[in-house]
Symmetry: C2
Subunit: 224 residues, 2 copies
Amino acid sequence: MSQTEENSPQPSSGETPVPQAVVNRLSLYLRELQHLVRDGNETASSTQIGKLLGFTDAQVRKDLAYFGPFGYPGVGYRCQELIDAIKKILGTNQVWPVVLIGTGNLGRALLGYRGFGNQGFRVVAAFDADAGKVGRKIDGIDVLPLDDLKKTIESQNIRIAILAVPSPAAQLVAEKLVEAGISGILNFAPVTLTVSKDVHVVGVDLAIELEQLAYAVVNRQARE
Amino acid sequence: MSQTEENSPQPSSGETPVPQAVVNRLSLYLRELQHLVRDGNETASSTQIGKLLGFTDAQVRKDLAYFGPFGYPGVGYRCQELIDAIKKILGTNQVWPVVLIGTGNLGRALLGYRGFGNQGFRVVAAFDADAGKVGRKIDGIDVLPLDDLKKTIESQNIRIAILAVPSPAAQLVAEKLVEAGISGILNFAPVTLTVSKDVHVVGVDLAIELEQLAYAVVNRQARE
Protein backbone atom coordinates (compact mmCIF):
# COMPACT_ATOMS: atom_id res chain seq x y z
CA MET A 1 0.00 0.00 0.00
CA SER A 2 1.26 3.43 -0.78
CA GLN A 3 1.12 6.28 1.69
CA THR A 4 -0.75 8.56 -0.69
CA GLU A 5 -4.16 7.47 0.55
CA GLU A 6 -7.06 8.96 2.47
CA ASN A 7 -5.43 9.11 5.83
CA SER A 8 -2.30 10.86 4.68
CA PRO A 9 -1.91 14.58 5.33
CA GLN A 10 -0.43 16.91 2.78
CA PRO A 11 3.33 16.76 2.94
CA SER A 12 4.59 19.58 5.11
CA SER A 13 5.56 22.76 3.32
CA GLY A 14 8.97 22.70 4.95
CA GLU A 15 7.94 25.74 6.99
CA THR A 16 5.99 23.98 9.72
CA PRO A 17 8.24 21.93 11.97
CA VAL A 18 7.46 18.22 11.98
CA PRO A 19 6.07 17.13 15.38
CA GLN A 20 8.75 15.70 17.63
CA ALA A 21 6.72 12.52 18.10
CA VAL A 22 6.83 11.91 14.34
CA VAL A 23 10.60 12.37 14.24
CA ASN A 24 10.82 9.94 17.13
CA ARG A 25 8.79 7.34 15.26
CA LEU A 26 11.07 7.71 12.21
CA SER A 27 13.80 6.03 14.27
CA LEU A 28 11.45 3.17 15.08
CA TYR A 29 10.44 2.72 11.43
CA LEU A 30 14.12 2.77 10.49
CA ARG A 31 14.86 -0.10 12.92
CA GLU A 32 11.93 -2.11 11.65
CA LEU A 33 13.03 -1.61 8.03
CA GLN A 34 16.57 -2.64 8.93
CA HIS A 35 15.18 -5.84 10.47
CA LEU A 36 13.02 -6.47 7.41
CA VAL A 37 16.05 -6.10 5.09
CA ARG A 38 18.13 -8.34 7.33
CA ASP A 39 15.37 -10.94 7.02
CA GLY A 40 15.54 -10.75 3.23
CA ASN A 41 12.60 -8.45 2.41
CA GLU A 42 12.99 -6.00 -0.47
CA THR A 43 9.62 -4.29 -0.11
CA ALA A 44 7.26 -3.80 2.83
CA SER A 45 3.73 -2.53 3.37
CA SER A 46 2.82 0.08 5.97
CA THR A 47 1.02 -2.74 7.79
CA GLN A 48 4.24 -4.76 8.02
CA ILE A 49 6.29 -1.79 9.17
CA GLY A 50 3.75 -0.88 11.85
CA LYS A 51 2.90 -4.37 13.01
CA LEU A 52 5.73 -5.21 15.38
CA LEU A 53 5.77 -1.63 16.65
CA GLY A 54 2.07 -1.64 17.45
CA PHE A 55 1.19 1.18 15.03
CA THR A 56 -1.65 1.11 12.51
CA ASP A 57 -0.86 1.17 8.80
CA ALA A 58 -2.57 4.57 8.57
CA GLN A 59 -0.25 5.98 11.25
CA VAL A 60 2.83 4.75 9.40
CA ARG A 61 1.65 6.24 6.09
CA LYS A 62 0.69 9.53 7.72
CA ASP A 63 4.05 9.88 9.47
CA LEU A 64 6.11 9.10 6.38
CA ALA A 65 4.01 11.43 4.21
CA TYR A 66 5.45 14.36 6.20
CA PHE A 67 8.71 13.83 4.39
CA GLY A 68 7.69 12.83 0.89
CA PRO A 69 5.86 10.31 -1.27
CA PHE A 70 7.85 7.17 -0.53
CA GLY A 71 5.31 4.46 -1.39
CA TYR A 72 4.71 2.77 -4.73
CA PRO A 73 1.13 1.81 -5.62
CA GLY A 74 0.77 -1.96 -5.60
CA VAL A 75 4.31 -2.41 -4.23
CA GLY A 76 4.48 -0.64 -0.89
CA TYR A 77 7.77 0.79 0.27
CA ARG A 78 11.10 -0.27 -1.16
CA CYS A 79 12.94 -1.07 2.09
CA GLN A 80 16.47 0.01 1.24
CA GLU A 81 15.26 3.17 -0.50
CA LEU A 82 13.18 4.12 2.54
CA ILE A 83 16.06 3.31 4.92
CA ASP A 84 18.33 5.62 2.91
CA ALA A 85 15.67 8.34 2.88
CA ILE A 86 15.04 8.17 6.63
CA LYS A 87 18.76 8.22 7.36
CA LYS A 88 19.08 11.31 5.23
CA ILE A 89 16.20 12.98 7.08
CA LEU A 90 17.68 12.09 10.48
CA GLY A 91 21.17 13.09 9.36
CA THR A 92 22.63 9.64 9.98
CA ASN A 93 23.53 9.02 6.33
CA GLN A 94 26.89 10.36 7.46
CA VAL A 95 29.01 9.02 10.33
CA TRP A 96 28.91 11.32 13.35
CA PRO A 97 32.04 11.34 15.47
CA VAL A 98 31.02 11.68 19.13
CA VAL A 99 32.85 12.06 22.43
CA LEU A 100 31.90 10.37 25.67
CA ILE A 101 32.56 11.93 29.06
CA GLY A 102 32.78 9.76 32.18
CA THR A 103 34.14 6.21 32.18
CA GLY A 104 32.38 4.71 35.20
CA ASN A 105 30.28 1.55 34.79
CA LEU A 106 27.76 3.36 32.61
CA GLY A 107 30.37 5.06 30.44
CA ARG A 108 32.17 1.76 29.94
CA ALA A 109 28.90 0.04 29.06
CA LEU A 110 28.19 2.76 26.50
CA LEU A 111 31.68 2.42 24.98
CA GLY A 112 30.92 -1.25 24.41
CA TYR A 113 27.42 -0.59 23.06
CA ARG A 114 27.35 -1.74 19.44
CA GLY A 115 24.04 -0.03 18.70
CA PHE A 116 25.80 3.34 18.28
CA GLY A 117 28.19 2.17 15.59
CA ASN A 118 25.43 0.34 13.69
CA GLN A 119 23.42 3.54 13.41
CA GLY A 120 26.15 5.93 12.28
CA PHE A 121 27.79 7.12 15.49
CA ARG A 122 31.44 6.56 16.27
CA VAL A 123 32.86 7.36 19.68
CA VAL A 124 36.26 8.82 18.82
CA ALA A 125 37.43 9.62 22.33
CA ALA A 126 36.45 9.17 25.98
CA PHE A 127 37.27 11.63 28.76
CA ASP A 128 37.54 11.30 32.50
CA ALA A 129 38.36 13.72 35.32
CA ASP A 130 40.08 10.91 37.22
CA ALA A 131 43.80 10.93 36.40
CA GLY A 132 43.92 7.25 37.35
CA LYS A 133 41.61 6.42 34.45
CA VAL A 134 43.31 8.61 31.87
CA GLY A 135 45.67 6.90 29.44
CA ARG A 136 43.76 3.62 29.37
CA LYS A 137 42.00 2.20 26.35
CA ILE A 138 38.42 0.91 26.67
CA ASP A 139 37.09 -1.10 23.72
CA GLY A 140 39.86 0.42 21.64
CA ILE A 141 38.98 4.00 22.59
CA ASP A 142 41.52 6.25 24.34
CA VAL A 143 40.58 7.77 27.70
CA LEU A 144 41.84 11.36 27.69
CA PRO A 145 42.01 14.06 30.38
CA LEU A 146 39.19 16.65 30.48
CA ASP A 147 41.78 19.31 29.61
CA ASP A 148 41.97 17.83 26.11
CA LEU A 149 38.22 18.20 25.55
CA LYS A 150 38.27 21.46 23.63
CA LYS A 151 41.25 20.51 21.48
CA THR A 152 39.70 17.18 20.48
CA ILE A 153 36.24 18.60 19.77
CA GLU A 154 37.58 21.48 17.70
CA SER A 155 40.15 19.53 15.72
CA GLN A 156 37.66 16.81 14.75
CA ASN A 157 34.68 19.15 14.37
CA ILE A 158 32.59 17.09 16.81
CA ARG A 159 29.00 18.22 17.38
CA ILE A 160 27.56 15.54 19.67
CA ALA A 161 28.65 14.43 23.16
CA ILE A 162 27.45 11.66 25.48
CA LEU A 163 27.49 12.72 29.12
CA ALA A 164 27.88 9.86 31.61
CA VAL A 165 29.43 11.69 34.57
CA PRO A 166 28.06 11.71 38.14
CA SER A 167 25.20 14.20 38.67
CA PRO A 168 27.17 16.82 40.63
CA ALA A 169 29.67 17.19 37.78
CA ALA A 170 27.15 17.20 34.92
CA GLN A 171 26.36 20.93 34.67
CA LEU A 172 29.99 22.01 34.74
CA VAL A 173 31.05 19.46 32.14
CA ALA A 174 28.05 20.43 29.96
CA GLU A 175 29.25 24.04 30.02
CA LYS A 176 32.73 22.96 28.97
CA LEU A 177 31.22 20.94 26.12
CA VAL A 178 29.18 23.87 24.84
CA GLU A 179 32.18 26.17 25.12
CA ALA A 180 34.13 23.71 23.00
CA GLY A 181 31.50 23.80 20.26
CA ILE A 182 29.19 20.85 21.04
CA SER A 183 25.60 21.45 19.94
CA GLY A 184 23.92 18.21 21.02
CA ILE A 185 24.27 16.43 24.38
CA LEU A 186 22.92 13.00 25.28
CA ASN A 187 22.70 13.31 29.05
CA PHE A 188 22.62 10.24 31.29
CA ALA A 189 23.02 12.16 34.55
CA PRO A 190 19.64 12.43 36.31
CA VAL A 191 19.73 16.24 36.42
CA THR A 192 18.28 18.96 34.20
CA LEU A 193 21.09 20.79 32.39
CA THR A 194 20.88 24.53 31.81
CA VAL A 195 22.51 25.42 28.52
CA SER A 196 21.97 28.06 25.87
CA LYS A 197 18.87 27.64 23.73
CA ASP A 198 20.72 26.62 20.58
CA VAL A 199 22.21 23.56 22.28
CA HIS A 200 19.97 20.51 22.16
CA VAL A 201 19.94 18.22 25.20
CA VAL A 202 18.28 14.81 25.27
CA GLY A 203 18.06 13.48 28.80
CA VAL A 204 18.00 9.73 29.32
CA ASP A 205 16.13 9.01 32.53
CA LEU A 206 15.96 5.26 32.77
CA ALA A 207 13.43 5.35 35.60
CA ILE A 208 10.90 6.91 33.21
CA GLU A 209 10.84 3.74 31.17
CA LEU A 210 10.23 1.72 34.33
CA GLU A 211 7.41 4.07 35.34
CA GLN A 212 5.80 3.56 31.97
CA LEU A 213 6.08 -0.19 32.46
CA ALA A 214 4.51 0.09 35.91
CA TYR A 215 1.61 2.03 34.40
CA ALA A 216 1.12 -0.64 31.74
CA VAL A 217 1.24 -3.45 34.31
CA VAL A 218 -1.17 -1.69 36.68
CA ASN A 219 -3.62 -0.86 33.91
CA ARG A 220 -3.46 -4.36 32.52
CA GLN A 221 -4.33 -5.70 35.96
CA ALA A 222 -7.21 -3.22 36.21
CA ARG A 223 -8.65 -4.41 32.90
CA GLU A 224 -8.53 -8.08 33.84
CA MET B 1 -3.72 28.84 36.92
CA SER B 2 -5.99 25.88 37.12
CA GLN B 3 -6.22 23.29 34.41
CA THR B 4 -9.98 23.71 34.02
CA GLU B 5 -9.67 26.33 31.31
CA GLU B 6 -10.46 26.67 27.63
CA ASN B 7 -7.75 24.42 26.35
CA SER B 8 -8.53 21.53 28.63
CA PRO B 9 -10.44 18.56 27.25
CA GLN B 10 -13.15 16.80 29.23
CA PRO B 11 -11.56 14.32 31.61
CA SER B 12 -11.57 10.91 30.02
CA SER B 13 -14.51 8.68 30.88
CA GLY B 14 -12.19 5.90 31.97
CA GLU B 15 -13.27 3.95 28.88
CA THR B 16 -10.98 5.61 26.32
CA PRO B 17 -7.34 4.78 26.94
CA VAL B 18 -5.16 7.80 27.64
CA PRO B 19 -2.72 8.38 24.74
CA GLN B 20 0.68 6.83 25.41
CA ALA B 21 2.37 10.18 24.79
CA VAL B 22 0.37 11.72 27.63
CA VAL B 23 1.35 8.93 30.02
CA ASN B 24 4.93 9.51 28.95
CA ARG B 25 4.72 13.20 29.75
CA LEU B 26 3.30 12.40 33.20
CA SER B 27 6.74 11.05 34.10
CA LEU B 28 8.34 14.29 32.93
CA TYR B 29 5.91 16.42 34.93
CA LEU B 30 6.58 14.23 37.95
CA ARG B 31 10.34 14.89 37.68
CA GLU B 32 9.81 18.61 37.29
CA LEU B 33 7.49 18.71 40.33
CA GLN B 34 10.05 16.75 42.35
CA HIS B 35 12.70 19.32 41.40
CA LEU B 36 10.35 22.18 42.30
CA VAL B 37 9.68 20.66 45.75
CA ARG B 38 13.39 20.07 46.29
CA ASP B 39 13.93 23.74 45.53
CA GLY B 40 11.38 24.71 48.19
CA ASN B 41 8.26 25.38 46.09
CA GLU B 42 4.89 24.40 47.55
CA THR B 43 2.78 25.39 44.56
CA ALA B 44 3.49 25.68 40.84
CA SER B 45 1.73 27.02 37.77
CA SER B 46 1.35 25.04 34.56
CA THR B 47 3.78 27.55 33.03
CA GLN B 48 6.44 26.69 35.62
CA ILE B 49 5.95 22.95 35.22
CA GLY B 50 6.16 23.18 31.43
CA LYS B 51 8.94 25.73 31.18
CA LEU B 52 12.06 23.63 31.68
CA LEU B 53 10.52 20.79 29.70
CA GLY B 54 9.73 23.00 26.72
CA PHE B 55 5.95 22.48 26.92
CA THR B 56 3.32 25.23 26.82
CA ASP B 57 1.15 25.84 29.87
CA ALA B 58 -1.88 24.77 27.81
CA GLN B 59 -0.24 21.42 27.04
CA VAL B 60 0.48 20.78 30.71
CA ARG B 61 -3.10 21.61 31.73
CA LYS B 62 -4.58 19.52 28.95
CA ASP B 63 -2.45 16.49 29.80
CA LEU B 64 -3.21 16.63 33.52
CA ALA B 65 -6.93 17.15 32.89
CA TYR B 66 -7.08 13.60 31.53
CA PHE B 67 -6.73 12.37 35.06
CA GLY B 68 -8.72 14.83 37.13
CA PRO B 69 -9.11 18.45 38.23
CA PHE B 70 -5.81 18.99 40.02
CA GLY B 71 -5.46 22.77 39.84
CA TYR B 72 -6.73 25.38 42.26
CA PRO B 73 -7.98 28.71 40.85
CA GLY B 74 -5.55 31.47 41.81
CA VAL B 75 -3.09 28.97 43.32
CA GLY B 76 -2.03 26.61 40.55
CA TYR B 77 -1.04 23.08 41.45
CA ARG B 78 -0.06 22.01 44.96
CA CYS B 79 3.24 20.30 44.18
CA GLN B 80 3.23 17.48 46.73
CA GLU B 81 -0.44 16.73 46.11
CA LEU B 82 0.16 16.50 42.37
CA ILE B 83 3.28 14.36 42.88
CA ASP B 84 1.24 11.93 44.99
CA ALA B 85 -1.55 11.90 42.41
CA ILE B 86 0.79 11.24 39.47
CA LYS B 87 2.57 8.48 41.39
CA LYS B 88 -0.79 6.88 42.08
CA ILE B 89 -1.71 7.08 38.39
CA LEU B 90 1.62 5.59 37.30
CA GLY B 91 1.48 2.97 40.03
CA THR B 92 4.71 4.12 41.67
CA ASN B 93 3.07 5.10 44.95
CA GLN B 94 4.12 1.59 45.94
CA VAL B 95 7.64 0.17 45.79
CA TRP B 96 8.04 -2.27 42.90
CA PRO B 97 10.53 -5.07 43.50
CA VAL B 98 12.33 -5.78 40.21
CA VAL B 99 14.89 -8.31 39.03
CA LEU B 100 17.79 -7.59 36.72
CA ILE B 101 19.20 -10.18 34.34
CA GLY B 102 22.76 -9.83 33.05
CA THR B 103 25.61 -8.36 35.07
CA GLY B 104 27.96 -7.14 32.34
CA ASN B 105 29.04 -3.49 32.24
CA LEU B 106 25.50 -2.33 31.52
CA GLY B 107 23.90 -4.53 34.16
CA ARG B 108 26.42 -3.34 36.75
CA ALA B 109 25.81 0.28 35.76
CA LEU B 110 22.08 -0.26 36.17
CA LEU B 111 22.57 -1.87 39.60
CA GLY B 112 24.36 1.30 40.68
CA TYR B 113 21.79 3.62 39.08
CA ARG B 114 20.17 5.59 41.89
CA GLY B 115 17.35 6.88 39.70
CA PHE B 116 15.48 3.59 40.06
CA GLY B 117 15.36 3.64 43.85
CA ASN B 118 14.34 7.30 43.92
CA GLN B 119 11.30 6.59 41.79
CA GLY B 120 9.94 3.53 43.56
CA PHE B 121 11.84 0.62 42.05
CA ARG B 122 14.01 -1.71 44.09
CA VAL B 123 16.24 -4.27 42.42
CA VAL B 124 15.89 -7.25 44.76
CA ALA B 125 18.09 -9.69 42.87
CA ALA B 126 20.42 -9.90 39.87
CA PHE B 127 20.89 -13.00 37.72
CA ASP B 128 23.64 -14.16 35.43
CA ALA B 129 24.18 -17.23 33.26
CA ASP B 130 27.92 -17.11 33.97
CA ALA B 131 28.70 -19.35 36.94
CA GLY B 132 31.81 -17.25 37.57
CA LYS B 133 29.67 -14.21 38.33
CA VAL B 134 27.11 -15.99 40.49
CA GLY B 135 27.52 -15.64 44.24
CA ARG B 136 28.98 -12.14 44.12
CA LYS B 137 27.31 -9.05 45.48
CA ILE B 138 27.09 -5.88 43.33
CA ASP B 139 26.02 -2.70 45.12
CA GLY B 140 24.65 -4.91 47.88
CA ILE B 141 22.57 -7.03 45.50
CA ASP B 142 23.12 -10.80 45.24
CA VAL B 143 23.97 -12.27 41.85
CA LEU B 144 22.00 -15.52 41.52
CA PRO B 145 22.04 -18.31 38.91
CA LEU B 146 19.36 -18.21 36.18
CA ASP B 147 17.95 -21.45 37.61
CA ASP B 148 16.72 -19.47 40.62
CA LEU B 149 14.75 -17.03 38.45
CA LYS B 150 11.34 -18.64 38.75
CA LYS B 151 11.63 -19.31 42.47
CA THR B 152 12.65 -15.70 43.20
CA ILE B 153 10.00 -14.12 40.98
CA GLU B 154 7.20 -16.29 42.34
CA SER B 155 8.14 -16.05 46.00
CA GLN B 156 8.43 -12.26 45.91
CA ASN B 157 5.54 -11.73 43.47
CA ILE B 158 7.76 -9.73 41.10
CA ARG B 159 6.08 -8.30 38.00
CA ILE B 160 8.87 -6.26 36.35
CA ALA B 161 12.28 -7.34 35.04
CA ILE B 162 15.21 -5.43 33.55
CA LEU B 163 16.89 -7.34 30.73
CA ALA B 164 20.57 -6.47 30.21
CA VAL B 165 21.84 -9.66 28.60
CA PRO B 166 23.67 -9.92 25.24
CA SER B 167 21.33 -9.87 22.22
CA PRO B 168 21.58 -13.57 21.31
CA ALA B 169 20.36 -14.57 24.79
CA ALA B 170 17.57 -11.99 25.09
CA GLN B 171 14.63 -13.89 23.56
CA LEU B 172 15.27 -17.07 25.54
CA VAL B 173 15.64 -15.20 28.84
CA ALA B 174 12.50 -13.16 28.06
CA GLU B 175 10.56 -16.40 27.64
CA LYS B 176 11.86 -17.67 30.97
CA LEU B 177 10.78 -14.39 32.59
CA VAL B 178 7.27 -14.58 31.19
CA GLU B 179 6.98 -18.23 32.22
CA ALA B 180 7.95 -17.20 35.74
CA GLY B 181 5.15 -14.61 35.88
CA ILE B 182 6.80 -11.36 34.77
CA SER B 183 4.40 -9.00 32.98
CA GLY B 184 6.67 -6.05 32.21
CA ILE B 185 10.17 -6.16 30.70
CA LEU B 186 12.56 -3.25 30.30
CA ASN B 187 14.73 -4.53 27.45
CA PHE B 188 18.21 -3.12 26.87
CA ALA B 189 19.20 -5.72 24.26
CA PRO B 190 18.97 -4.23 20.77
CA VAL B 191 16.52 -6.89 19.53
CA THR B 192 12.75 -7.02 19.25
CA LEU B 193 11.35 -9.54 21.71
CA THR B 194 8.41 -11.73 20.78
CA VAL B 195 6.26 -12.37 23.84
CA SER B 196 2.56 -12.95 24.45
CA LYS B 197 0.32 -9.91 24.01
CA ASP B 198 -0.38 -9.45 27.70
CA VAL B 199 3.30 -8.91 28.50
CA HIS B 200 4.46 -5.34 28.10
CA VAL B 201 7.95 -4.76 26.72
CA VAL B 202 9.68 -1.38 26.69
CA GLY B 203 12.78 -1.46 24.55
CA VAL B 204 15.60 0.94 25.35
CA ASP B 205 17.50 1.64 22.15
CA LEU B 206 20.11 4.22 23.06
CA ALA B 207 20.98 4.93 19.44
CA ILE B 208 17.47 6.32 18.93
CA GLU B 209 18.23 9.17 21.30
CA LEU B 210 21.43 9.90 19.38
CA GLU B 211 19.50 9.88 16.10
CA GLN B 212 17.07 12.39 17.52
CA LEU B 213 19.99 14.57 18.57
CA ALA B 214 21.49 14.31 15.08
CA TYR B 215 18.16 15.42 13.60
CA ALA B 216 18.03 18.39 15.97
CA VAL B 217 21.63 19.39 15.19
CA VAL B 218 21.14 19.05 11.41
CA ASN B 219 17.89 21.02 11.44
CA ARG B 220 19.38 23.71 13.63
CA GLN B 221 22.20 24.07 11.10
CA ALA B 222 19.67 24.23 8.25
CA ARG B 223 17.79 27.06 9.96
CA GLU B 224 20.92 29.13 10.58
